[in-house]
């Protein structure tokens, strides 16, 4: 841990989103990280960092989306993170919305799978996250998203 470890909340849906989030771990070194992802998931991959499991939702599952929103609100408000980092999708978007309410610095990293246009959650994150990133330099715009590199 560094002199002043920060509380980082690192959020991802399952599958590729979660694989990409794990590849960012060197950036979190020295800080206190809590991961949030969708189960089933091999939590030993990020041990000893704690992992909270959630159920995912998308635009076509409104009831699940409401449940996800409430669950993320609870996780974010009880943890009070200094930084929220997400690789998408919907859970990350909500983590950013609630993260900003409690003063966290927030960054939304759109999946490397979105090579031709930003995802829906990425477009929603634009202007809401402190920084929204694309992983493809040709998708970057002055008004956002930015390009800071990729997970590969």
């Amino acid at each position: 841990m560094s002199e002043n470890p920060l509380r980082i909340l690192a959020v991802a849906s399952g599958g590729g989103h979660w694989v990409q989030l794990q590849r960012l771990r060197p950036a979190f070194a020295g800080h206190q990280v809590t991961f949030v992802t969708v189960g089933p998931c091999d939590t030993s991959a990020v041990a000893p960092a704690p992992v909270k499991l959630i159920s995912d939702a998308n635009a076509r599952t409104p009831i699940r989306m409401l449940w996800l929103l409430l669950r993320m609100a609870w996780i974010v408000l009880s943890l009070r993170p200094d930084v929220v980092i997400t690789t998408g999708a919907a859970p990350g978007y909500w983590a950013i919305r609630f993260g900003r309410w409690c003063g966290a610095k927030t960054v939304f990293i759109d999946s490397i799978a979105n090579a031709e246009q930003l995802s829906l959650s990425g477009r929603l994150a634009l202007g809401r996250a402190d920084v929204t990133l694309t992983q493809w330099s040709d998708l970057a715009r002055d008004s956002g998203p930015c390009f800071w590199g990729s997970v590969v």
Binding site: L24, H31, D82, G103, V152
Partner: protein
């Protein structure tokens, strides 16, 4: 062993059927396929609808080749272990996904030489036949690019200043 994975969310019968029929033509090929909720059930290969993340990882470690949809999770997990990858991208026009982002993913990773891309079923059979002769492969680290890590560290450090100033 050839490991076939279609991801957890959607079926991908076109991929599963092509590999099953290919394996049927030369018995003795060791293939294990994760097929999700596909309608087509394989006749010539071992299969399961879903497997746990730990089993997925174990199958990847054991395989000599991954054949998958063009999902980022499958591709990156295999490359981290230095396993060769053939992808058949899902197509929206065939009802295989909501949009064509897998075509873009396949094209970009293919252009970097990280995966081999099958354009269609015929192409997939050709790539599978070719694979009988092993080739050297890309292996990637398990970390994001140094550029992205460095930028995120800077972002996090700025949050430290922000916290101290508060």
């Amino acid at each position: 062993m050839i490991f076939v994975a279609v991801g957890t969310q959607l079926p991908f019968d076109r991929l599963v059927r092509t590999i099953d029929e290919w394996a049927g033509k030369a018995p003795g090929r060791d293939v294990f396929a994760q097929i999700a909720n596909g309608v087509y059930t394989p006749q010539h290969i071992e299969w399961a609808r879903s497997i746990l993340p730990t089993e997925f990882q174990a199958s990847l470690e054991r395989c000599q080749l991954l054949v998958a949809h063009a999902g980022i999770g499958s591709i990156l997990s295999a490359l981290e272990l230095g396993k060769p990858v053939i992808v058949l991208p899902r197509q929206a026009a065939l009802g295989e996904h909501r949009n064509d982002h897998q075509l873009a993913t396949a094209k970009r990773f293919g252009a970097r030489g990280m995966v081999r891309v099958a354009q269609d079923e015929t192409d997939l059979r050709r790539l599978l036949d070719q694979f009988e002769t092993p080739v050297s492969e890309t292996k990637i680290t398990n970390e994001a690019s140094p550029e992205l890590i460095q930028n995120l560290r800077q972002f996090i450090n700025q949050a430290t200043c922000y916290k101290r100033g508060a």
